[in-house]
Chain length 339, copies 2
């Protein structure tokens, strides 16, 4: 059977055989020779599944290198799993390719997938490839597992819990600002290292896979920060029916983010409302706080206590923000996702 393609790259079956089949190493994926994959969680475990779609021009730039796009696309899904306390197992890949996408793009994209697979010991289970008018479009379904009954939910936070975040907050959103305004880094007198650090935090989020065990053991609720700290904490509070107080001076910032905020205080709002952090927000009861901090430290991850949860207020917002003891109001210039 011939394959005719509308572009210069090989057809779907050649691409699958050449680039994707080598990524599918588990028995249930039968080297992508079938339309469906078979697998099961380990005994005593249940599956955690998540799906994130990424569209060129919306979630990444069309001219981003495919090696990095692949890592981001897979990473944001692994981030979701980690926040649920799940160990990653494998993933399905849906790929929409426009005509202008070359074989080299696909090769580089698969090299990025391989890197993340090797890092976290997961593999490709299957997927689908379609042509689409604009692309690339990525639709990843990732599978993890937790011991049965131990998934960490977003909607089970309770009053009295302490709020933690891993890593540093705001780097990706500030990196995006620098990406969109090439003159900004110089204007703010950032060093090349500071600029590259922030740009890279936008391009290549690091899923906090190592946090899963600590979250299962000690967190009452958790989620990853993708829509921005303020928005995602809002989701946690609304679904859990609690109120959060956050002390912004405790929100961990990188040196580079601090440098931007020192030059223009408005960037603090970008940092806490901007999104794409892929750090983990967790609610932990005070009696477990020490053990939680220690477990994350053992996993090689930093964490910071940024606030606490209370009984919900009858009226008023789900979240109160303060900076050095003063109420802090969002101006709303950032952080709302256009949808």
């Amino acid at each position: 059977m011939n394959e005719r393609t509308a572009s210069s790259r090989p057809g779907e079956f050649s691409l699958i055989e050449r680039y994707f089949a080598p990524l599918a190493t588990s028995a249930g994926a039968v080297h992508l020779q079938d339309d469906a994959a078979v697998f099961a969680p380990d005994t005593g475990c249940e599956l955690v599944v998540t799906k994130d779609m990424l569209m060129a021009g919306v979630h990444f730039f069309e001219n981003d290198p495919p090696f990095e796009i692949a890592q981001k696309a897979l990473g944001v899904n692994l981030s979701d799993l980690a926040a649920k306390g799940a160990e990653p197992k494998g993933y399905l890949l849906g790929l929409g390719l426009s005509k202008d996408i070359s074989e080299e793009w696909v090769a580089e994209f698969c090299r990025g997938l391989k890197l993340v697979q090797d890092q976290f010991q997961i593999d490709l289970l299957g997927g689908d490839t379609i042509s689409c008018p604009q692309g690339p479009l990525l639709s990843i379904t990732a599978f993890g597992q937790v011991p049965t009954g131990q998934v960490v939910r977003r909607n089970e936070a309770v009053a009295g819990a302490l709020l933690y975040v891993t890593g540093t907050i705001g780097d990706a959103a500030l990196g995006l600002k620098l990406r969109l305004d090439e003159a900004l880094a110089d204007k703010l007198e950032l060093s090349a290292e500071q600029r590259d650090f922030l740009l890279n935090r936008y391009l290549l989020p690091q899923p906090r896979v190592g946090a899963a065990q600590a979250l299962r053991d000690y967190a009452v609720a958790a989620m990853d920060v993708s829509d921005g700290l303020v928005a995602d904490l809002g989701h946690m509070c609304r679904t859990s029916q609690v109120h959060a107080s956050v002390q912004l001076e405790s929100v961990p910032l990188s040196d580079a983010a601090s440098a931007m905020i020192a030059k223009d205080a408005a960037f603090r709002e970008t940092a806490i409302a901007g999104g794409d952090d892929y750090e983990i927000l967790a609610a932990v009861m005070p009696e477990n706080a020490g053990a939680f901090e220690k477990a994350l430290q053992t996993a090689g991850l930093s964490c910071s206590r940024i606030g606490e949860l209370h009984e919900p207020e009858a009226t008023g917002p789900a979240i109160s923000l303060s900076l050095n003891g003063e109420a802090y109001c969002l101006l709303g210039a950032d952080g709302f996702k256009h949808f």
Copy 2:
């Protein structure tokens, strides 16, 4: 937190709460209040997962009714599961919406999902909604289960097996011809019923979910026919390393398809090469043929024996087609998917 949207429809969270959450009825989906779903196969079973993406303008027409688009999108995934012998369990929905898509579109789309859910006793487990420049775009991951070790593969066909298909072949591809050329039905003197039957077979494929048990019990290999009978049988033969002989006079045709072919014999090629049938192609050993036919009949499904499998030929094609004893050659005008 406000939601700002770039169109007149409500924001993502309102849409999820209003339309999608009512479709998520299993405990592990927690009413879509979390970023991930939790579930496990029944004891003694393993999961079968499949992913199919559908893009407006590629896999369906942009002006197709959303009630039908939903049924098709979910149906083609259930078709994949059925062909593997799996009982459907649930699905994840990725939805890309362009700005012009209204709240009413979403409501109708969800009404279509609900219909299929109720028909096959499945539910929505989770998903993701994004904005995209052109849409709608649908990315569905469907989960089924089989008793451990009983999945029916595409790549395990063997020489000596008989080839069967369910239902009738070619209706959807011929329906697409009628859709693309509105004058064609009159030109061929089709009745309104014949025309509507074929149009509807393209718009609303019926997944053969009821065939799963018979396939598990009696088929050595199976797959659903989505790329066209010839192409998909080719996939089966190549991945299984067998050769197929098909007697085209035995390929089951609807009255409407027969009427088109009677007027113009070239439509036979459309029928067998065109795709979108979502019938099941199965390889069954002769000693199980009677039981297989009876089991499908009990499930309310028709099936037809269309050929048999042989040892592969060192040279020559993977498939030989004949019509009433004469070799039948494809002219190649249809059936190759542009990718």
